[in-house]
Symmetry: C2
Subunit: 225 residues, 2 copies
């Protein structure tokens, strides 16, 4: 319907892909696992990152890149946990891109990092289109958002390696049909892992931690071989 | 940080503004109130529209324009209420724009309509930047998203005439600080009306209906004078 806009977008996407490849190469040179964390606003990205820090920081050297239109609230929370954090303020842009990540990487001591979690801008659309150069793309879908979201934002649900269904502690108060959701995912993206979690009660988080540890191990094995 | 992208955006925004002005003129020629309904995915836009249809359809001639990346689920729900509805599938674009609305208006019998509700793509970023040519911009913020959203998505909260805080029936289960939210709104956009509602229990909806009826009356008075 809006051909002009889409044509411009493709051009930007091509340049972004090239930069993303460079970022990924750079992460691999330093044996770092990069994870792009996406969701709607308020679905629990920061809570998941804070829980993951709590669990991993004693054994894995972490860094966090926080993406927001404005504010540094999330970066301050990560900083309080003693983890290196870079806040990107996109000043209006609705997603992070590879160029922003390149600049953030320039400000981290990469030789001292094993895992970088990147919190994207809260948005189910554009972040799915812009590669950052990370190894894994994950998303949170929170129960209050509803089980119909894969039908409405199919690219995001198709692109990700993991969906964390968050806020399962409030399932009794919402009409969220888990089997409809699981069925929609099986149709769109059967390879994606689905974890049911609550960052408030910690329910289900162990399975996510196990998955993440396996991915970190794999990056290390790949480097050694 | 991403100068190239922003420069292109400004160009698109200029052309969009011009088209939006034409849409608004067209609505006014037909004495139609146009309302742009925005929010994060799953905050309750469709529920609010359905509740508003239920209340207004006997006395106000309504039409609905549904914006989604993909799917026609919401349009089908509106259609079941016997209200004319146009579904726009943006095919990837993260917001509606004035050109899309112009095309949708071409498919409506405008001489038989008093109120058009436009459900934008679920997104707190880009929809705030793209004028559609309507008289009022409203948004829903749902309680599970958290009270910090005005700090993170300031343009959206600054641009709107009304914020409906939805899902207040689940306030006991979430850490949503209403006074923090009200304070943030007072700083960003003191002219905006704030309604606390639940589309599930109907709590607070009367105030919203009253506001909407007043706006419809005003368009009529403006036409007569």
């Amino acid at each position: 319907m809006e051909v002009k806009v889409l044509a411009i977008k493709e051009d930007i996407l091509g340049a972004n892909k090239e930069r993303a490849r460079k970022n990924q190469k750079r992460l691999e040179e330093h044996t770092i696992l990069g994870v792009n964390v996406m969701s709607s606003p308020g679905a629990g990205k920061t809570s998941l990152i804070l829980k993951t820090i709590e669990r991993f920081k004693a054994k894995v050297r972490m860094a966090v890149i926080e993406g927001d239109i404005a504010s540094r609230m999330d970066a301050d929370k990560v900083h309080q946990q003693g983890v290196p954090v870079i806040q990107i303020n996109t000043g209006g842009a609705c997603h992070l891109d590879a160029n922003m990540i390149e600049q953030a990487l320039n400000h981290l001591s990469l030789e001292q990092v094993d895992l970088i979690l990147i919190e994207n801008v809260g948005n189910l659309v554009c972040p799915a289109e812009f590669a950052l150069g990370v190894h894994k793309k994950i998303m949170l879908l929170s129960v209050p958002e509803g089980d119909d979201k894969p039908h409405k934002y199919p690219l995001m649900f198709t692109e990700v390696d993991v969906v964390l269904v968050n806020k399962i502690d409030v399932l009794p108060y919402f009409d969220f049909d888990m089997s409809s959701f699981i069925q929609a995912m099986a149709g769109l993206n059967p390879a994606a892992k689905v974890f049911k979690i609550s960052c408030r009660t910690n329910e289900g988080l162990e399975a996510w931690f196990f998955w993440l540890q396996e991915e970190i191990n794999q990056i290390r094995r790949k480097k050694q071989s």
